[in-house]
Point group: C2
Chain length 238, copies 2
C-alpha cells in the first residue's frame, strides 16, 4: 500500500475520479473539506438505514454495497472500485450498507460540505451524473442476470466482468497473461453478488475448470484459459 499523498494533485485517481473535471484551484478547495481514511477488510463505512452523512471517492481497494431483508438474506447490489464514487448526495437515508472487501483507501467528505461545493461546480455535478448513469446501466444489466440467467451463465458473466473491471480500475493483474487475476474476495461474496449459494458457486467454478475453460490458482486466483468459451457461456445480451 502506497503512502497517502498530501494533496489531490498527485492522487492515484486524479484523472479518473469525479475530481478529474476540476482545476488546481478548485481541487485545493475540495482538498480542504475532505479527509482520507483507510478501511480494513470487513469494515463498514455506513449501514443500510443510517443517515448517510458521507460521500467520497475510492482510491484503492474494493468495496461492496449490500441490501438485506429482515430475516438475514443479503444481496450485494454493487461493487465499488478505485475512482468510483461512494454515497448518495441529496438524499436522506442510505438504501444500502457500504463495506470494504479488501483493505481500502477512500477520501471522504461530509455530505453537506460536498453538496454545497457541487452546487457551485456544475462540471462536477455533470461528472457525477454521468457516473450515476453508468451505475444505473450496470444495475439493469445485473437485473437481467439475477432474473434470467442460469448459475453457469452467472458465473461466466461474473468472471468476465471481474476481469474487465479490475483491469479498468488499475488493479494490477497477476503476471503472465492478461486474463489472470486475483479475486478480491471469497466464494461467499461471489454468491452474494450473483444471488447463488456458496456451494453452487463452488460447483460451477470446478465445472469450468474441469472443462478447461478456466484455471483456479489457490483460493482466489483465476486464469481465463478460453475466453471465447467463457463468453459463450455468459450469453451476453443482444
Amino acid at each position: 500500500m502506497t503512502a497517502l499523498p498530501r494533496s489531490c494533485e498527485m492522487c492515484v485517481v486524479r484523472n479518473r475520479a469525479v475530481c478529474s473535471v476540476l482545476d488546481g484551484e478548485e481541487l485545493s478547495v475540495l482538498n480542504r473539506i475532505g479527509r482520507r481514511q483507510t478501511l480494513a477488510p470487513g469494515q463498514s463505512l455506513y449501514w443500510e438505514g443510517d443517515d448517510a452523512l458521507l460521500v467520497g471517492n475510492v482510491l484503492e481497494g474494493v468495496l461492496k454495497l449490500t441490501t438485506s431483508l429482515s430475516d438475514g438474506r443479503e444481496q450485494t447490489v454493487g461493487l465499488v472500485y478505485p475512482s468510483d464514487f461512494i454515497g448518495r448526495p441529496f438524499g436522506n437515508t442510505a438504501g444500502h450498507s457500504v463495506t470494504a472487501l479488501t483493505e481500502a483507501r477512500i477520501c471522504t467528505f461530509a455530505q453537506s460540505d460536498f453538496e454545497r461545493f457541487a452546487e457551485d461546480h456544475p462540471k462536477l455535478e455533470h461528472k457525477l451524473y454521468e457516473k450515476t448513469l453508468t451505475e444505473l446501466d450496470r444495475a439493469r444489466e445485473w437485473m437481467l442476470l439475477l432474473a434470467r440467467k442460469s448459475a453457469s451463465e452467472r458465473i461466466a458473466t461474473f468472471l468476465l466482468e471481474m476481469s474487465d473491471r479490475l483491469r479498468a480500475s488499475g488493479c494490477a493483474p497477476l503476471p503472465g497473461t492478461l486474463d489472470r487475476f486475483e479475486l478480491p474476495f471469497g466464494r461467499q461474496q461471489i454468491g452474494d453478488v450473483l444471488g447463488l449459494t456458496i456451494e453452487t458457486v463452488s460447483r460451477r467454478l470446478t465445472a469450468l475448470k474441469r472443462e478447461g475453460i478456466i484455471d483456479l490458482e489457490g483460493r482466489r486466483g483465476i486464469v481465463i484459459v478460453d475466453r471465447a468459451a467463457l463468453e459463450d457461456q455468459a450469453q451476453a445480451g443482444e
Copy 2:
C-alpha cells in the same frame, strides 16, 4: 385522453417532471426544441442496441424498459410513469428497449438538442441527476427482490409498489377504496417484471385471493383487502 396542450405552461406534469426547475422563459426555449407524440400500447420508442437519439418526459401512460438475451429470454428492468424521464443523455447506445404498455403521451427531444440545452442549465441537470439517483435506488431494491425473494414475496412487493406508484404518478385509482386499482398490463408483463413465469404469477395471485388478502376484479383489477397482511408477505427490507 385529454387534448395536447399547446405550451409547457399548462402541461400535466409541469410541476413534477424535470421541467419543474425551469422558469417560463427557459421553458419556452425547451418547448421549441421538443415535440409531443403518442404511442399505442405495444409500440416501441427505440430498441436495445439502437443509437438512442431521443430523450423525453412521460406525460401520460406507462412504459417499460426491457433487456433481453439472444435466445429470447426477456426482463423488464424498469417501469416508467407520468413525469418520469426517458432515455440516457450523454450516452451512445441504448442498453434497453422502451415500449409503451398503455397508450402513452410523451414529449421528446433530439438527444443532442437536449444535451446542449442541459449544459446551459445546471438546474435542469441537477434535477435529472436526482431523478437518476432515485432510479438507481429503485433498481437496487429490485435486485434484492430478483435475487432473494420468493415468488409470493415478489408478487406482494409488486402489488404494493404498483399501488403506490400509480397513485403518486397521478394515474386515477378506481373508485372505492384507495387500495383499488387497475394494472396497466397483463400477467405476462408481471412475470417479466418479477422474473417469474406467467403460470407462477397466476397461481400466486389466486392464492392471495383465496387467503382473502386481495381481490381480483376481471383481468386487471386489483383490490388490496388486507394491506397489512400484504406488507407482511412482501418482507420489506430493513
